[in-house]
Amino acid sequence: MATQNLIETTNLTKQYGKVRCVSSLHMQVPQGAIYGFLGPNGAGKSTTLKMILGLAKPTEGSITLFGMPVNEKNRIRLLADTGSLIESPSYYGHLTGEENLTILQTLKGCPKEDIDKVLRIVRLSEARKKKVGHYSLGMKQRLGLAAALLGFPKLLILDEPTNGLDPAGIQEMRDLICTLPREYGITVVVSSHLLSEIDQMADHVGIIRKGELVYQDTLDSLHSHAKQQIALRTDRPDTVISLLHQDGIEVQKEDEYLLIPMIEDAYIAGLCRRLIEQNIALYRVEKREKSLEDIFLSLTGKESSL
């Protein structure tokens, strides 16, 4: 049986004036996944997530949540099973952490005991009576996650949850997110502009560039694109190309280099011997690896920040 998609967008578009922030997006988030929504700053990640949560109105397209098309009438009912943390945490600085959660617990209509549970999960139990205005940024971020976890929703949408956290905080947040599908059956959508972060958390990935979804699949599939190649530099590349074609090997020319697929050492040794015999100068034989970063950059454009 096919896995149900908790979120499905069709032709989702958002335009502000003449600027298209999100363009014909077809996003599919399978149940039980940690879906990494990756893209450079300003690519349209937050706008997309806001549209899914009904905080911004799509210019075109539709959104399906839990298999139901979202409209203004059922939006709040469908979102009852969703937790979110968009951009920065929301909080009342003059109230304590516990009081902040009480407000949301009342609005969500979930049991009061959930407050203790989520505070324990994000390790804020000891700071529960402290005013949130006196929390550090990391604590506020964790409180934001606790608020999103209240009622243990089926779907959690986290927009750049590690923003502003120190390395230890990032690690902690990451570990926490990774446990959610396993321990609580929560499907997580987490956005980031950092490939390494998504690589460590997600099992599904969607890459957005200038408002367009340029890649969407499992992370394993993205990794399979990270291929290794052999690069050769000679004084007579055209002769070498015909030589390689005679051997049935695909060759690609890139600047002064010839790129061939990863091949066994014995063939490379034989090739080098043949080139020398034919008086072809062999300047370089290098192993090239296309990293996940290279794939990301090729999908999102070299000018994008990582």
Binding site: G54, I76, T82, S84, S90, H94, I103, L107
Partner: protein, 250 residues
Amino acid sequence: MKTLRLEFYKTKRRKVWLTMFALLSVQLLWGLWSMKDPKEWELQSGWMSLLYFLSLLDGIMVPTMMSVLASRLADIEHKGNTYKQLETLRSAGSLYHAKAVCGCIIIAVMFAVQFAFFILLGYHLGYEGNPEVKYYLLSYVLKVAANISLFLLQLALSMLFANQMIPLVAGLGGSMAALLLMFVTTYSFLPWGGNLSASLVWAEWDETTRISTFCYRAFSPAETAAVICIFVWIVVFYAAGRILFTRREV
């Protein structure tokens, strides 16, 4: 109801009530100072003069307080970026409604306390007879309505602008306008003139005897229209504020 209850919960430690009662204390002190040692003619028309005095005081002080109240209720949401979370749990319209009702309740309570304070003061000073219930009740209702209309205007501004200087400046400007209006007219269609239009008592100042004569106002058609206008403003400001708040994107 749940959302409304939470509005009051959110005002915890915000000293909203304290701010309102600080205003009342200032009014009471002003009253004690200006009404001390009343003369006999002042005791005779004491209850009537009290209504006039309250309208005067409120016209000067309350418009600013309404902008402060609206700002205190709205800026907690702006400061904590809470709309983006709240609006996934409740519709923007119901959040706006809860804020508006919360403010209206605070205003109603504040003026009830104000009336109670001043009626006790009247008895303490020895005003003759008793306050006329009909006029005091009507006065209370009109005063609350006038200030609710003003509060709803300020609330719309405070909810829409994250920078609270904008609504506060509008409130201060309005207060100044209200003060100037008192010198030139007996009514106004401007929202800040509501306290003036809603006054049931008017005073005639006799320069020769230096005595004010108080009388219940016989409302002219224009003055009646100004009173009706207060209720129109309530509907307009609430609807406009709610529509604009609901339409904006977080």
